[in-house]
Amino acid sequence: MVENITWETDMDAALARAHAEQKPVLLDFFNPG
């Protein structure tokens, strides 16, 4: 069952996961409005 994109909000946490899972990071700069 697809829910939502599981966004990280912290760069260091994202890079740690990227190393652990051997995946690239999608970094999205957005305008929260």
């Binding site: 966004w7 990280e8 909000t9 760069m11 994202a14 899972e21 690239p24 999608l26 999205d28 957005f30």
Partner: protein, 150 residues
């Protein structure tokens, strides 16, 4: 992106399965300065060391976001000399999204990947011939133009 592209099941699955998604407001420091962010959405593909390999600015529809991300993944592997993984990503893009806006660059990059992994120039010429036949107006066809002579 929130209203149209990110809610699509295929987009959610692709991102969750193939990437580590990180989302920050455009004015987050020091990231905004470090990545020279001037407009949103800015979507950047990073390798696990945080080095940038691909960037798009502006809205992407679901049918364009996934091939753009596949191209970004392919470029991330290509630029770190992981040619087999780069080719796998580019082959997936070209097989599943042959008409996307990212396709011509993927054809070009696949030719370069094949050349760099084999030192056989034939894939460069093949890339040009495919670009000329399928994407004659693309800038990537122009960039591959010298390869017609190989």
């Amino acid at each position: 992106m929130d209203a149209v592209t990110y809610p699509v099941d295929k987009v959610i699955s692709f991102i969750n399965e193939n990437m580590i998604p990180l989302r920050v407001p455009f004015d987050t420091q020091p990231l905004s300065t470090d990545f020279n962010i001037k407009w949103t959405p800015s979507l950047i593909t990073l390798d696990p060391d945080g080095k940038e390999h691909h960037r798009t600015v502006g809205f992407l529809a679901p049918q364009e976001l996934i091939p753009s991300l596949l191209l970004g993944i392919g470029k991330s592997y290509f630029e770190t000399d992981r040619f087999d993984e780069a080719l796998a990503s580019l082959d997936k893009l070209l097989g599943e999204y042959p008409k996307s806006d990212s396709t011509p660059e993927a054809v070009y990059l696949r030719g370069v990947c094949r050349y760099k992994s084999t030192h056989d120039p034939k894939p460069l010429k093949a890339a040009y011939e495919q670009l000329e036949a399928e994407h004659p107006a693309s800038e990537w066809t122009k960039r591959a133009y010298p390869y017609r002579l190989l």
